[in-house]
Symmetry: C2
Amino acid sequence: MLDQKAHKPHERLAAHLRDDLNAVDAMIRTRMASAHAPRIPEVTAHLVEAGGKRLRPMLTLAAARMCGYEGDKHVILATAIEFIHTATLLHDDVVDESAQRRGRPTANLLWDNKSSVLVGDYLLARAFQLMTDTESLRILAVLSNASATITEGEVLQLTAAQDIGTTEEIYFKVVRGKTAALFSAATEAAGILAGVSEEQVEALYDYGDALGIAFQVVDDLLDFWGGEATGKNVGDDFRDRKMTLPIIKAIAAADAEERAFWKRTMEKADQRDGDLERALEIMDRHGALEETRQAALGWADKAKAALTSLPEDPIRDMLHDIADYVVERIS
Amino acid sequence: MLDQKAHKPHERLAAHLRDDLNAVDAMIRTRMASAHAPRIPEVTAHLVEAGGKRLRPMLTLAAARMCGYEGDKHVILATAIEFIHTATLLHDDVVDESAQRRGRPTANLLWDNKSSVLVGDYLLARAFQLMTDTESLRILAVLSNASATITEGEVLQLTAAQDIGTTEEIYFKVVRGKTAALFSAATEAAGILAGVSEEQVEALYDYGDALGIAFQVVDDLLDFWGGEATGKNVGDDFRDRKMTLPIIKAIAAADAEERAFWKRTMEKADQRDGDLERALEIMDRHGALEETRQAALGWADKAKAALTSLPEDPIRDMLHDIADYVVERIS
């Protein structure tokens, strides 16, 4: 039943899938618990219970239902997807906090590191137990491949960080790893569960992949374009020296003087007053922000195009609207 | 073919399984590689290539061959087991180093932390890919259950550390997690692969479980009993305030004054000159070291007893000798 008060497309989809999402929440609580180590739910509670948008499990539930699936294993699969996502967040904490607070970690930070590593591992193990419960070797292959892609993307991001030689090809590998791989696995695995045709399984992969990439490119663009109502501080990625698409495009078009500027600010970490403004001015001059915007819109279009070969269903329309919504703030 | 120069039982077993172990080494190198993130093999090389005894994969190969398995999936399974083990070591680095170098980590330590977390995750993902390649849902269930037990054991160890209320029950849960779970999964999964009877699958689990527990109890005992030729510094666990079996047994028998001593040294971390000697004296007075020794011998006996229902084979004799070898230094 549609919730008429819900205007954003992911909220409409959540309302449509209310019962399935409640079943996922219940399974998350059950499978997170550990008789042996009661501390585990304490650590995960703030991440898993607080909820967030549950976008990834929702994609799984939506794809399964759209494809006519009538069993209950989509709930198991969606829970596994959310556990992999949560484990990734926990391990990212360790990787990111270490860098940001370099040289002065607190005992609390260290305890968090331990908990983050071990509880992340626990959730990964639980995710694989759940995947085994789907009794589909093909789904297990899709999700273990996605897990490998995720970690490869994160290692690549670590090695590419602050390297002005980073190419668009590397950027998209990183983006597939950190964002798109789990989106595409969430939709593809649901199609396999529902037993749709190979063509439709591929379309489901393409939708998740393109949606995830659009999502991340928008995020990277808004870091320079934000301001009003985006909830982001302009320039955070510049200060963290992250090689995102707008900067990569600007560097590709840079003259010798600009190259020296990027080398100083991104590689040598020598950033001064006015550098962010100069970076924005250089990116604007080369059309790097506009090109990035076009790229994001292109990925959203690809996501929508992938839907055409999937079954007609109210859910399909909502997935279409979600692709529009992802790029709404830059449209 | 037996290598007559190899006298230790695990060396004789390695010689007997030479071809299989070489196949595992080759598969480790192939599956560790990442086209996307070339840094990954750099990080794992010193752990995986340097080798170590390969005890866990060897148990898998041995159990499969002893049970008459003639395919080649035992190599896949053994590689998966070694990857899970290596991932655990990498993540333990983060958990342990944080504690030991509290307050003064180096940039290098932080980079290692990041690599350890992410590359550990990568190896886990690769392990699950390999497990999927065995095409056995039951093996996947055994190994994902083992992964959960391992992480639960590690979280429990973290929460039980420095708590003099730690019971033997908690100690054995921790030991099953940190050591025995992967041993027992290594042997049990091999039996499933070979298609032996339920009774024999259970016996294989029991052998791995008891061998792993004996292994860890001996290690914990030698920390107080070591000295000549054990390669361990006496008292490291006492200084790190680890609640191992000898201390748990001594605390269970402690009078009020001794309890105060354990509270001061283990919980409050107030350790003075002569405390280690006093700890040894108290443990000796209550027979805690001798009781721990008897416990280890008992687990080695259980491991050997489990072998009786398994097929007669030269490998079975070597597994018997390995159980004896594990407790040789305390016999």
